[in-house]
Amino acid sequence: MILYTLRRLAGVIGVLIAVAAVTFTIFYVLPSDPAAAACGKACSTERLTAIRAHMGLDQPLWRQFWDFLSGIFTGRTMGSGQYALRCDFPCLGYSYENSESVWGLLMDRLPVSASLALGAAVLWLALGLSAGVVAALRKDTLTDRVLMVGAVGAASLPVYFTSMMLIYGIIRVAGLLPYPQYVSFADDPAHWASNLLLPWLALAILYAAMYARQSRSSMIETMAEPYIRTARAKGLPRRTVVVKHGLRSGMTPILTLFGMDLGGLLAGAVITESIFGLPGIGRLFYNALSTGDQPVILGVTLLAAAFIVVANLVVDLLYAVVDPRVRL
């Protein structure tokens, strides 16, 4: 188990380096000039050259990439003299647009994205799994039909449509909630929750629908397994069979899905954050794109990849705990 974990961790680092290399190359090959973006309105050629040198853009690609990679561990110093910028471990670069280190920016925004993702995850797991399990146990009844028709419908609604409907219905017409404006949990937990409720719902509706569908089919398959039939034949109460045996192995495929979804969302739900005006990582990324802030784009991509691979790793390790059939 320990050996396995170590091997996987090495794999994680390998994947991250590969992701960084690919992202780096793409931005190097494709025409875009962060120096020009930083230079502004009256940009003279001399000034552009100076900024370019300052940003390290005059170096060859491999050199820039090496500086970036080694900089993560050793930190970097950009420029010299009075205006030198020190970027400490873990240095993912420096955003000239925001005059801040990329790591600092990411850590500043992470709580917003994490609040959004985790809150929505709780909601969609609760809604989706219960709907799926109920539907599976009542297969082919009216309850099942209604739940599944609802799920297919909800899964087909684009998140921006759901969001606008929620904003219109709950904020504009009913006036039940204020317009979302992020408040940190530490400052005011009640406001934090009430401001995030709609974004949570918008995300949760979509995911809950997908999870209901997945968990239903997974449960149906599990409940048809011979060992469940054996358990029931032994005379175990239905409740025990469902909870102890059915759920346990029926939920393993859901775990994989959950790992990937949560990993993806932690690094920013670009559309949801932009619709509700939440200053999360997705929003940071989107702004970085429109300002050509490459260090931030690279940083967000890496962070997102890190979340995804780490989530996968955690899920695989959890398998061993949840499902006795899995041996690592």
Binding site: V19, L30, V152, P158, Y160, M164, I220, L289, S290, V300
Partner: protein, 314 residues
């Protein structure tokens, strides 16, 4: 939608020797949801294919402004109720420009579906090829391809797609978007196919063919490919909604097609700010997107139940 649906309805005669494809067809015909969704898909595909014809019928091109249909003093609101629906504009007009919504929706269908279906085709062809190769040849090929799949799946795909779309300027946006969407989709299907191939590889009929001196290419195309076709078809139908949604999301975020080309995502993005002042403008493209995604999902569900009952979806 259930895993037992392969069992035909009791009491019905089945001609001896009915192949799996005939069974599938019969089963499909039995379902209402399939009929409805097939009809919806057919309507939108026809709409996409006949876009120029249809908009000519409506008498409007998708890029033509109509100033008489909007009120400049109200920020360009359409004149008349329901977003300016009239004999002249069957689905009303776009605020500000007065462009005909019917013509734009129809042309938008063309762009959205073209991108989604082409991207799906890329994904399916690349995924199937990679999956079969990995499963059949095994060894180093498998190792390399599997690593590549893992790597691709570790990419934060939406974030990456947005970044690529926003950086590349002087290219055909439709081609680029298709390629970018296709790039991240193939590992899913490759895994399914690889698993299926592994299980087929040592079936007796495959071994027999091998002993009979058939070459790899012949075995792959004659024996393996038909064996994986069922799950591939089911999987294909199931990923189409995702492709449509991805195209819409990219266009929504403003990194999609170049103006004035319409696509559903682009139309929804523009209409969001009018959702309360001109609701029809927002509802129409959203409804199209919703219906198409729904129809493909239902169709995919049915196909999966029939063609791939054990589910290659773990």
């Amino acid at each position: 939608m259930t895993s037992q649906s392969l069992t035909p309805a009791p009491g019905r005669d089945i001609a001896p020797g009915s192949g799996p494809w005939q069974l599938a067809r019969r089963e499909l015909r039995r379902r209402v949801s399939v009929k409805v969704s097939l009809a919806i898909v057919a309507v939108f595909l026809l709409m996409a294919a006949g876009a120029p014809l249809l908009s000519a019928l409506g008498g409007r091109s998708p890029d033509e402004f109509d100033k008489s249909a909007v009120d400049p003093y109200l920020g360009g609101q359409p004149v008349g109720p329901l977003g300016g629906i009239s004999a002249d504009h069957w689905l009303g007009v776009e605020p500000v420009t007065g462009r005909d919504l019917f013509a734009r929706v129809v042309h938008g269908a063309q762009v959205s579906l073209l991108i989604a279906l082409t991207a799906t085709a890329i994904v399916v062809v690349a995924g199937t090829a990679a999956g079969i190769a990995a499963g059949y040849f095994g060894g180093r090929t498998d190792a390399v391809l599997s690593r590549l799949m893992d790597l691709t799946m570790s990419f934060p795909s939406l974030i990456f797609m947005i970044a690529m779309m926003s950086v590349a300027k002087d290219v055909n946006r439709i081609v680029l978007m298709t390629a970018v969407i296709g790039l991240f989709g193939w590992p899913g299907i490759a895994r399914v196919v690889r698993g299926q191939t592994l299980s087929l590889k040592h079936r007796e009929y495959v071994d027999a063919a091998r002993v009979g001196g058939a070459g790899s290419w012949r075995i792959l195309t004659r024996d393996i490919l038909p064996g994986v076709a069922g799950p591939v078809i089911a999987y294909t139908t199931l990923i189409i909604p995702g492709m449509i949604a991805t195209e819409a999301a990219l266009s929504y975020l403003g990194v999609g097609v170049r103006p004035p080309t319409p696509s559903w995502g682009q139309m929804i993005a523009e209409s969001v700010s009018y959702y309360d002042t001109d609701p029809m403008y927002f509802v129409i493209p959203s409804a199209c997107l919703f219906l198409t995604v729904l129809a493909f999902t239902l169709l995919g569900d049915a196909l999966r139940d029939i063609l791939d009952p054990r589910g290659s979806r773990t």
